[in-house]
């Protein structure tokens, strides 16, 4: 973990209200970063108390050597809007990388990624591991859902090798319904499953998995509102099965799905 000033090198709206912000960081800031980890970004000028708290964003891309990183920002409120509006040359106050990322098993050949819930930017959590995995000849299928076609992240964000299956609640693109409707069939195929979404989505995934044998190995990235993101405030509590609360910002955001006690 470091605190550093990152400079915006470009930003681009990849879908309505979904902005990719490219950043350059000083050397050695991204050492040991992993997909699923995040940065904690100040979303105001230094002389303003509003918004008061930093905002967590997954590393949507990073290059340790080049000192570059990218965020995939869904504009939902004033913090995200402020970040998404920064133009080339402006600086961001960044803390990170933070938390525990996804751990891709070296033996995995069939990787299933399941992204759901209200915000499609959850996809950011896995983006950095896709190209390296594809290069190691891992077959990757991503299932993703959105309310409507316009809110689906464009396939251009993904390496070409990835199979991208979409579902929309209104049927305007892909399957009409939930990404979890396919999951049942694909879970047995996968050696490893990575998931990201809100709690109700992850709970439904867990319920589907519970009916399968052998139990699929699922790592899931959760989201919590965060005040400190370094483990001191205990605000980002995630209830676990029998071991009390864990911190989304330190032990998470990525957990083994079977460790989580989720609420709908």
């Amino acid at each position: 973990m470091q605190q550093f000033t990152a400079t915006v090198s470009g930003h681009r709206e990849v879908a309505p209200n979904l902005v990719r912000v490219n950043l350059t960081a000083p050397p050695r800031m991204l050492r040991g970063a992993a997909a699923g980890q995040f940065v904690f970004v100040r979303a105001s000028n230094a002389d303003s108390h509003e918004p008061y708290l930093r905002r967590p964003y997954s590393l949507a891309a990073f290059d340790e050597e080049a000192g570059t990183l990218a965020l995939l920002v869904r504009v939902v409120g004033r913090g995200s809007r402020w970040i998404a509006e920064r133009v080339e040359g402006e600086e961001l106050d960044v803390l990170g990388p933070l938390g525990s990322g996804f751990k891709l098993d070296e033996r995995t050949r069939h990787l299933l990624v399941v992204i759901g819930g209200e915000r499609q930017s959850h996809l950011a959590t896995v983006l950095p591991l896709l190209a390296p995995a594809a290069a190691r000849e891992v077959t990757i299928t991503i299932l993703i859902e959105a309310d409507t076609a316009a809110n689906l992240p464009p396939p251009s964000l993904l390496p070409p090798e990835v199979e991208y299956q979409t579902a929309t609640r209104d049927g305007s693109a892909g399957h009409r319904g939930s990404a979890l409707d396919f999951a049942k069939n694909l879970l047995p195929w996968a050696d490893q499953v990575l998931a990201a979404g809100d709690d109700p989505f992850l709970l439904r995934l867990k319920q589907i998995c519970a009916k399968l044998y052998p139990l699929p190995k699922v790592q899931a990235a959760v989201e919590r509102s965060m005040a400190c993101a370094v483990g001191v405030c205990l605000g980002c509590a995630v209830e676990t099965q029998g071991t009390g609360y864990a911190r989304a910002c330190v032990e998470g955001p990525v957990f083994d799905l079977d460790r989580l006690a989720l609420l709908s």
Binding site: M1, Q2, Q3, R42, H49, E50, P51, Y52, L53, R54, D93, L95, R224, S225, M226, A227, C228, A229, V230, G231, V232, C233, L234, G235, C236, A237, E239, G244, Y245
Partner: protein
Amino acid sequence: MVKQGKVVETVNLSVELAPRNPHGLRLRNPVMVASGTFGYGSEYAKLVDVHRLGAIICKGTTLERRDGNIGPRTAETAAGMLNAIGLQNRGVDWLLREHAPRWAKWKTPVIVNIAAESVAEYADLAYQLDGREGVAGIEVNISCPNVAGGNVPFGSSPTAAAEVTAAVRRASSLPLIIKLSPNVADIASIAAAVEAAGADAVSLINTVLGMAIDVQRRRPMLGNTFGGLSGPAIKPIALRLVYQVAQAVSIPIIGIGGIASTSDALEFLMAGATAVQVGSASFTNPHAALNLLDGLERWLLVAGVAEVREIVGAALPK
């Protein structure tokens, strides 16, 4: 009207927080970090030179492990935040085993913040901390509900607050700071009562009781319904309470509440605080406390103030 200072070359930043206590509690500088916002001191250590802090107050500790409240536990508000953590911690044994030995090697004193639901528990905690290496003092959070007293917080009556103070005082000779709650009508009388009952210092304020509502879901935002408000939003309230307490007690006062900058800290010192604690500002900027400290030293130099003590209470009625 701006005061012209004499020329000074160095500033003496050190302050004594427990002048009546045989151990004393001398800090190299008056900038501390507040309970619940800096963990056990080690979490931020990779990022911040914690050894330059005046003191560290660790997360509130109870006798037994506590799991804390159901989430959501925090919510952002205008220039502040609400929290309802529910005193999640692993209990005093764990604290003494896992953290105190490391603290014993630090230059910065660590003060243990304690919380309990009965006078006996407070006393028991103080007794267990007494004389332990690495524990420089005790800060008593009296905003907790008094289970035997109808769940009214100890901090809301002078009698209950004094009872806790006296019990802790008997159980330990460590420097003893009583942390006052702002959710009261007359804080000065509570401060006077804990002073009389043996407190070495008072710190204030703890968070202000507040809430937020999730309009879409039509229910309280926090799992616990109510939470404590902190941050710049509460600074004017905290400053007024410090100013009132400064006219009611003669023991040192530690100012807390929305402190994020050098000028915030100066306001509290001038209102009568001998030292300050930086709380949730560390979340926004982990370097807030140290930046403030550097700025304080520069300000005093420029103003020609040789001892930080000289400005303590400067804005009080003459």
